[in-house]
Symmetry: D2
Subunit: 366 residues, 4 copies
């Protein structure tokens, strides 16, 4: 079941880059959740292309049309469905693309798996464009969580070969000013200096006909204690399963993550003290998750985004029909760096995973 | 659905550290797969405690008793079920453990989620002991994959604060001598020198009443092209969902992983050339997975294991009943480093995830 | 997960009676399956309203718009998505409907479950109109099964209080002339006389401001032996789970069904003989299913359809807001008998259930 | 996924008739639910063989051994696992059984599906014996529902070719005396006269080397309004999916069921009136379910049980290895009528389906 996510929630994502439309259905969401469409559109706009010189110049008006599940501004208990029409629909011959796979893309394994029936145009169902419906569903879950007092914030933690680093999100408490800075900047960073340096690095990659990647940090503040499950349905498992759905993500870590491998137990364990009548961990190396279950601390996780595989430089490939080596030049308008646009997608998958766990645990639903 | 994994396969893991037994059922496995019980017991023994001075001295004879699903040395099409009797069963009062949560363990969120009904003894269902049934099921899948020509190999890539590094597994081709070295050494390393240095680091941590973590690398050689799915059921998603079921895992990455964030597209893309009539990627930064689907290269992934939270040093905690700070000293025999014993578990979860994908794709099942 | 079906297939149905559109996504279907859109539209037309004086006079052009998953007349491996625009969209005040539940409809429990957020217009997500997307997905599966040599045929077995009975479908072998008669008649019956009598019964119910129900028989000819699973995923379980998704279905039986309860074992057992080198059951009381698995005989099942709850007679109800008894008169154009239009829906759910089982068993997919 | 049931609950059933043990795991059940083991054993005893001259004389001590998930008489939040040791384990050669399939049993399709790997002994995983673990899990859910005020009661509605009928369970209100009569009688009937007549019919079938079937009625009293979902996860769908897991069940119907097909809408609709401040349906033809959702009335359903296929008379079969006709005589101690022992199993599957829906809806869990 490829394009489906959730235990109680049930997200189905559909569409190809050049099909008539893309979209999703989201089943299992309780009735009566307010959906602020303006806020959702603003969230979608953070992912949409064509807004900056650091991104592709393709213009796509990624405004979802809701065709079911919402009445009078609230979920009505029926599955939510929304579509976004594609303006770049399939119009020309894609035979070359079918024959000569782009390095770093799914072209080659997709051709083996789906044969000639595979819709190669624009990457088909593998296109990063499919993260738009994920943002529709995740954006609605994010709003539902916000009604419960949960804030989800992501930013670019590190960008490019030089590792340009943003300030870290506070791992202990929500700081509204950090979120405001991220939303206000030209790139989603807390530090304006970091944003400035990152922008220059992206433009430099573009000018070099190359691309760069980065690391996105995402934090969910305000999750209640006790959500999630041991083993295969822990909060880590759920977020990771959702995050690896984003094309180009190659790593996911929680709390201290890979750095925890270099700590001693006495350093990595988060000591408990009582504070104001509550159990209060004194640090958050665990990233808010112990045994797969939330411990009341912020859920802190990072994902690694590889450099965009579509680059303008000529690349070595093969002609699968001729069975011979072939060189490849990719034309078209591509992002020299997908990381900025992936930031709201990180928030979306985090919201999907957390809200599904909240619903499965039978917590108050609004 | 906490302790359940798979789409076509269906693994259910049950048991607590001190319940009468632990075990699993594995449904959906085709009939007629040979199961070599001796080989499985040898695989289980790699995880079992009490074999070395680097691990806990508890002795547990982790030999599974098969109670269903296997006839005359083959799967019979019915669910496989196996149990392992616990010898350390619940016998004394665990009230203190219930009141004073161990830092870094699931005690605190589990008490909030399950209330006083939670079985705290030995960590209950959160115990690392529950990886034994995962190894039963994963070990059977590993054998089934081997019949298809797929070899799964893991080792300790890096250990401890000093980052003692083993030689890397070959990311391009299976090298039997690497696997043999791993199986023959006192610790699962390719390099005897690395194993020796790691052993000393573990003993040093033990003597310091502390614990250390590390990074495990796992590679699956020989997977056919075209297995897996885009989006939420990609090979990355499946392996990550399985790997985070292992207690103490805090990060998972594929191929170049987090390091890919520091590469340029022109460096990270794996160029294609024809070789011997086949499409041959020239490097393997993708870790054998593009768009969630296998590309015929080895599946390369790593997981970060945090230092064991059970340490002999006194730690800061709280008494949840008294609502007051409390110090905690953990007694008993604990692993100063769980990493060596987690190596076969990495192979097990990898086998579970890959074999499930193979079955879902309707590939020849034997 | 209310509106979701399948193990390897993955159908999500969305839409309400008066939402902008209804539709479905169907994930997990292999690439390269030919989809004959004309044939599908003809199949959809058998369910569509407004074609006969025995049905509602509402006209709905139930022609699906495919927005994803099909390229050049074949499935492309990505999820198939299709929508049908609603022409009767929500335009007026439904407060009375919200207050005064229609007997026999979901109005009352839906209001309790979903509160005032429930979209009552036209029955919302509970409307029989939602069987249209089921027919899109089921119609595609039916075509895929036909490519494997499986024919699915349904007809009205019995109609109305007088039990007007059609000739039975042959339970042993496919007879094309039976299917042709069903498709050619004004009502889906094998016998023209039965169709004539049924039509008169429906008109009589309409004239009496009442409604009638009936029993639909459906047979799948040509299923290979060995498809399906014991226990919860047997062919009976799968078809029943799908069939009860059709509003108004209140019973499902297989083979001899409820009548088997009145037979002796010596009568009900289907004896085996060899015929032409094959194992040949001599009768088909089992309806082609033993232990949940196909035995090579036609899959024979029936479903009971209750009389349409929307009748023009005044009925006793309550005003839930006032907490008082209230009488109700339902206006609008309603089917005096939904049974004829439910016949293709029976074929659709049968196709969905069988094709999902075929795919899960890894049978050749085309 | 053959032997697995539930959305939030997660039941896995394992074992074969002659494997070392049978059992189940039940995941997803909340912590803190009291489990009365004596009451459960009494429930199991109603299904166990060897208690009456109407059943097989095989003696099986079907007392579950709980190996996980229960501490101090309560669920602890971890998966519940229980096993029952088989005393009749595989000891002799089953080659004849493998070659010559028993009419009415799964032998033939199972051999085609699983090949020679299938465990034919005693019916393997298809044996009615596998309903014992279903009763363990269902019995626990039944107790959990009873704590919520839900009573589930089943009895034999009709037995044998003469249709010996018991009094019906009250479809409107729970009557304790009906349940007491069912539990006290030699056969599970409300009417002692019906029980007497049924017993004689079973003995007559046994003496005639034949078997008989019947219809079981099951009612769940006290379900809250608003539980369940439209379409594929309605209460009907869930109960049907569970009920068809019971070997020999060939039909399932709700409320008026197949008889509803013979009613007019004006007769079948359940009128509403206010009573004591509540919405009160005046009849219960809907069997407590509208649009898949509970309406507060008793959930009324029936299942048809075919006559036991194992009969002592010689039967026509084939030798699949020789490819020739072969006669078959089944030896051993078989039930001439399985219906009485299936009555608690009907209660068990009803409890599983309803409690899963209750949990999925996030209702108070105790």
């Amino acid at each position: 079941m490829p394009s489906v996510f959730g235990n109680v929630l049930h997200l189905s994502v559909f569409g190809q880059s050049h099909s008539p439309a893309i979209g999703c259905s989201l089943d299992g969401i309780p009735a009566g959740i307010p959906v602020n469409v303006e806020e959702l559109n603003a969230f979608m706009a953070r992912r949409a292309p064509g807004r900056s010189d650091t991104a592709t110049t393709r213009k796509e008006g990624d405004v979802p049309e809701f065709i079911a599940g919402i009445t009078d501004g609230h979920t009505n208990g029926a599955p939510i469905a929304a579509i976004i029409r594609n303006t770049n629909t399939r119009s020309r011959d894609y035979d070359e693309l079918r024959r000569i796979p782009r390095p770093g893309h799914a072209d080659y394994p997709a051709r083996v798996k789906y044969g000639n029936a595979h819709d190669v145009a624009g990457g088909g169902h593998f296109s990063g464009r499919l993260t738009a419906p994920i943002c529709i569903a995740g954006g609605i879950c994010k709003q539902a969580l916000e009604h419960m007092g949960v804030h989800i914030v992501a930013h670019i933690a590190t960008l490019g070969p030089d590792g340009i680093a943003d300030e870290a999100l506070d791992p202990m408490v929500y700081r509204a000013e950090q979120q405001q800075a991220i939303l206000a900047g030209q790139l989603p960073c807390i530090s304006a200096d970091a944003a400035h340096a990152m922008r220059k690095a992206i433009l430099r990659a573009r000018d070099g006909l190359d691309s760069i990647g980065g690391i996105i940090e995402c934090v969910a503040y305000g999750m209640p204690v006790g959500v999630g499950d041991p083993m295969f349905d822990g909060i880590e498992n759920r977020i990771a399963q959702a995050a690896f759905a984003i094309p180009a993500v190659k790593g996911v870590e929680f709390g201290a993550g890979f750095a925890a491998a270099y700590l001693k137990g006495s350093e990595n364990n988060d000591a408990y003290r009582m504070f104001d009548g509550h159990v209060a961990p004194q640090t958050n190396h665990a990233g808010g998750i112990l045994g797969g279950i939330t411990n009341g601390m912020p859920i802190v996780w990072q994902m690694a985004v590889k450099p965009t595989p579509s680059i303008a430089q000529p690349q070595l490939s093969v002609d699968m029909d001729a069975g011979a080596d072939a060189d490849l030049s990719i034309h078209g308008r591509h992002d020299p760096c997908i990381v900025p646009r992936a930031v709201p997608v990180a928030e979306a998958v985090c919201a999907l995973a957390l809200y599904d766990a909240v619903l499965e645990d039978g917590l108050p639903r609004i």
